[in-house]
Amino acid sequence: MKSLIRSLIVIFALSFILLFIVHQLNSSRGYTSGNTLTVYNWGDYIDADLITKFEEETGIKVIYETFDSNEAMMTKIQQGGTSYDIAIPSEYMIDKMKEEDLLIPIDHAKVPNLKNIDSRFMDLSFDPDNKYSIPYFWGTVGIVYNPAMLNGKEITSWNDLWDKDLKNEIMLIDGAREIMGMSLNSLHYSLNDKDHEHLKEAKEKLDTLTPNVKAIVGDEIRMLIENGEASIGVLWSGMAAEIMWENEEVEYVVPEEGSNLWFDNMVIPKTAKNIDGAHQFINFMLDAENAAQNTEYVGYSTPNKAAMEFLPEDITGDERFYPDEEMTSKLEVYENLGHRSLAEYNDLFLEFKMHRK
């Protein structure tokens, strides 16, 4: 009994010492002061130096929290409990959050740096007039491939994937919209198509891709391609950029038929307490120099036109990640399909996945 009690006392004492250390660390960073801003972002999706810079400029302390999926983030915001002042969801989620009345309109007068955003990326279907959201990073869906493993073969279009030589070579990201969209695009339909016949046609076309498909995977696709487990992958440009940093042999291409244009956007959730600070933060991130610094750190494509001047030529000149006007005109943003069509997309994609074996 004595030894049990002794262990208990040791454990409690240890926890309180640790608690004290954490408290010291927290207060040394100023978290205990009243003027704070809670930012909810994807993991490792901001240059930490920028947070420090923002804190120094404004005197507001930033509490930075991370999430791993749009859905999880929305659940947390819906329930309240934490007063998130800024969140950074993807575009399709903004539509849903608007429907659920979870967002506060952004006062454009308080974010003068909005003028820095490229007009191509403003006023898009998921948020007309950018009433609720400001683009943070953007990208495309495309194909990464390893020319060395394909004997120098070049891939330029979705239809190249149906080549009989590519047996068991392709990895697909596990997303109904992405993969159904790929098939629709390859048939020159819109990736927001709701026509039942078109969707059926797209699914049948996908079925014929089956012999070439090696796997349908999630985030691990990145490592598999980096390590040369497969020579071709269909995925997002942000992920492609990371693969290309690690493995220089790999190429990325936005198929000529067109593809998806995706966005992560800054929004102010209903839970926000420091609305003024949130506007300051958005304006700070839209500043050309700051946006450039963040872009260099994160490596995704920035929608900030003014920031381009501060970025090295080999980033901004890279047409794979900063496609020209002509290419972007072919890119489409996902629209809210509504429950019925979305269910149809999901069902058809599921049937395709089951068809594989």
Partner: protein, 267 residues
């Protein structure tokens, strides 16, 4: 003990290689200057340095350890008292139903527990953060402690308690001098199980974190989209060593407890 045959040694060896290879693989690359989990460049301590310079990550690690220690200790206390009262119940029917309720909590999916905690806390107005995480960790650890402790109680002969009472021991003495010393291996096992459960729980914790308070598992999951850098390898290496120390400590504690009980001394 009979000597193991060659085949069983080989079999055991293979099992252990499979169990430990991924961990050693991860540890090995935490020293890679190349920055990836393939192509070992050269030996470096950079990731460890980077780890200790990252105050935010350090706070998260400490949070995780604090929550694990506190929740395991508190749930052990509650769980031990609970299992003693369960074992003392006379009516079999009630006893079994309480036990099944306990088991339901163990098998029910973490996401559901997490989501219900989130809704519960927001409804009764508890701010998400340290206490919400602590409370939910205590809650999901209690059933684990109960199933670790209950077998020990059942193994104990009821005549022990009767004899103590006959010899004039009060109920308090019976509890502190007979029952608890007898079941203390189970208590330690329960504590360490609760500790590991708390350390690696993601699903429940995700829902109840907030206001700047996060644990390691939540943080690592959220890195999935951008890829995990090698300082997470370094961190995992340190945590692995930490748990190794815990296990060694656990071994020595149980050794001492066993020796004491064999000698018939109850301290």
């Amino acid at each position: 003990m009979k000597k193991l045959s060659k085949w069983s040694v080989l079999y055991l060896g293979i099992v252990f290689v499979i169990l430990y290879a991924p961990i050693f693989y991860l540890i090995f690359y935490s020293f890679n200057s190349g920055g990836t989990m393939h192509d070992f460049d050269s030996f470096t301590f950079d990731w460890y340095k980077e780890l200790f310079q990252d105050t935010r990550l350090l706070i998260i690690v400490l949070n995780t350890v604090i929550i694990a220690l506190l929740s395991a200790a508190i749930s052990t206390i509650i769980g031990v008292l609970g299992s003693i009262s369960i074992s003392m119940m006379r009516k079999k029917g009630i006893r079994n139903s309480i036990l099944s309720l306990n088991n339901v909590l163990i098998v029910s999916p973490d996401v559901i527990i997490g989501a219900s905690f989130l809704i519960f806390f927001t409804i009764i107005g508890i701010k998400l953060g340290f206490f919400s995480v602590l409370l939910s960790h205590i809650a999901f650890s209690i059933p684990i402690v109960v199933i670790m402790v209950l077998p020990k109680l059942e193994e104990m002969s009821p005549t022990l308690v009767d004899a103590a009472l006959d010899l004039g021991a009060s109920w308090k003495d019976v509890l502190t001098k007979v029952i608890i010393p007898y079941i203390s291996p189970g208590i330690f096992a329960g504590f360490f199980m609760a500790l590991t459960y708390s350390l690696d729980d993601f699903a429940v914790t995700f829902f109840v974190t907030g206001n700047g308070f996060t644990t390691l598992s939540v943080e690592i999951y959220s890195l999935a989209r951008r890829g995990i850098s090698l300082n997470i390898n370094a961190l995992s290496t340190l945590l692995f060593l930490f748990t190794l120390l815990l296990v060694i400590g656990y071994y020595f504690i149980t050794q001492r407890v066993n020796k004491a009980s064999q000698a018939g001394v109850r301290k």
